[in-house]
Symmetry: C2
Subunit: 314 residues, 2 copies
């Protein structure tokens, strides 16, 4: 294990992949790995790429990688795929459109299933990003599945969130509805050679006006990712946002919030494990029949269980 | 409080509304209310109505209410609206299209925000349904916001899940991707006067074939909710599915799973409370700086905290 960690920290792709797999599989070694990794993390720029399915996120990520490489940066990608809540497996598998970088040792691409929490980002996603960070990647791109929860969760992980929109998909209403506007640091109107791109960019700006003045006004870029158009400008904006965070109170706050969430997430996982064990020991046909027949209620069952685990004073 | 609960159980709409508000606001009285309500619940048929935004769910719900009323049934509706993760408020507010029933004492309609868990169904949604059940509604319709998590969560709450599709919205791919197919007990192709309705119904049947044989083969209905066409047939199918559940092992299993989830959900909520409290007591500027500067890692911080709560043997 020490050797594996050392090789990963030296940048060996196969060792990095192995570490991520171990952490993802929730193995007892996961904590050991994360503890060893952690002191070396905290340097990379985490960029979240989110937006509706079909917005062209994977193609855009492909071109962002190319641009970052031109700047001499090493890049890690965590692409979250929708997984069936029933099978647990990732449906899309490795992203074909990113395969052009498959043989490049400076680019590490990893697909992860969203596992159970449909659309949500599992803690393993964040841990994979931390591993890539510790193993020397300058930038970690996190591409979400782009439905519901993951679009909001990304703000908990990424330093900079790019929201990818497409003209004519009715995205504007979707955004308003889901409260996604507030989480974007950079807007990218992709497939901007389609009709309505200018209109969409204008509408986003109007919505941003409605949100009121903020120290960082999210810029709106138009790209045609297929052709690489506008990508360099968007990447420059990501970098501007990073600089903005580094020198402002907002950046410090965001970093602290993320650290707090990390601790809370680990706590929740551990406590859940303890309670789940106790619940599995407690539940019985009798108890479930009691609930079904309304002889007992779930609040009393849960209360008794917690008393058992924590003592009655909790 | 006792008086309020008694009046609600007698069917008084204002008291029911008040109870739901208290439970939704996460007040300390919530548990007391749910404990009192619980023994009277377990009789209503919970029907989930899910599908993409724009599928015409609200209009369909309106017509389903009408049909159920013709059958002499009392109806409760919980409509989940998308809420901003930042303000916490519901964006759409009360559903205008259901207002035709606003003055009907046998129909109770309640909008709830999806609160933080974007697109997901909050536990309060389920508790509101239980309250309506205990207060004498024969059927409780739960209309989801129709993005991501809520479409899958509905299966945890509802006895019968109706998935509403619309021709020409590219829904077929969306469904496949998100693993939604598996959760539907009845398919409704709405706006069936549009082109492509027959094709869509056929495609759904093909996909159902791919899922393999099951004891309950979800039927596919075409409706034009605006005109009320096909609604009676769909409602009859909901009722058939209820009867199927009542007399099969699958029905018993589903009920037990729901009861287990109820207990687990309450446990989860309590655990979050415990985590938050103990973390708030521990966290300090020093500790957060230590994390930011990588002098300590979050796994060690969480481990120390757990030792404090449970003792070192946990």
């Amino acid at each position: 294990m020490e050797l594996l960690i050392r090789k990963a920290l030296d940048g060996d792709p196969r060792s990095i992949a192995r570490l991520i797999s171990i952490v993802e599989s929730d193995s007892p070694y996961a904590e050991k790995i994360m503890k060893a990794i952690y002191p070396r993390s905290g340097k990379a720029h985490f960029i979240g790429i989110t937006g509706s399915p079909g917005a062209g996120k994977s193609t855009l990520v492909d071109k962002i990688i190319r641009e970052l490489k031109l700047q001499g940066k090493s890049v890690g990608v965590v692409a979250v795929d929708p997984s069936s809540p029933f099978t647990g497996g990732a449906i899309l598998g490795d992203r074909l459109r990113m395969q052009s970088h498959a043989l490049d040792p400076d680019v590490f691409i990893r697909s992860m299933g969203s596992r159970g929490s449909l659309g949500g980002l599992s803690h393993a996603t964040y841990e994979a990003a931390l591993i890539l960070d510790a193993c020397g990647k300058d930038v970690v791109l996190i591409e979400t599945v782009g439905v519901g929860q993951s679009e909001v969760d990304i703000v908990k992980i990424a330093d900079t969130v790019a929201l990818v929109l497409v003209p004519g998909m009715g995205d504007d209403i979707q955004i308003m509805k889901a409260g996604i506007m507030e989480i974007a640091d950079v807007f990218v109107v992709n497939k901007a050679d389609r009709d309505g791109a200018d209109k969409m960019a204008r509408e986003v700006n109007v919505m941003l006006d409605l949100l009121g003045e903020r120290a960082w006004r999210p810029p709106v870029y138009k790209t045609v990712a297929e052709k690489g158009e506008g990508v360099a400008e968007a990447v420059a904006a990501f970098s501007d946002h990073q600089k903005y965070l580094q020198k402002t109170e907002e950046g410090r706050k965001r970093k602290w919030q993320r650290l707090e969430r990390e601790v809370e997430e680990i706590l929740r996982r551990e406590i859940s494990r303890i309670v789940e064990r106790s619940w599995n020991e407690t539940k019985s046909v009798d108890l479930l029949n009691g609930l079904a027949e309304r002889r007992i209620d779930p609040y009393t069952v849960a209360g008794d269980l917690l008393d058992k685990v924590f003592g009655p004073e909790a």
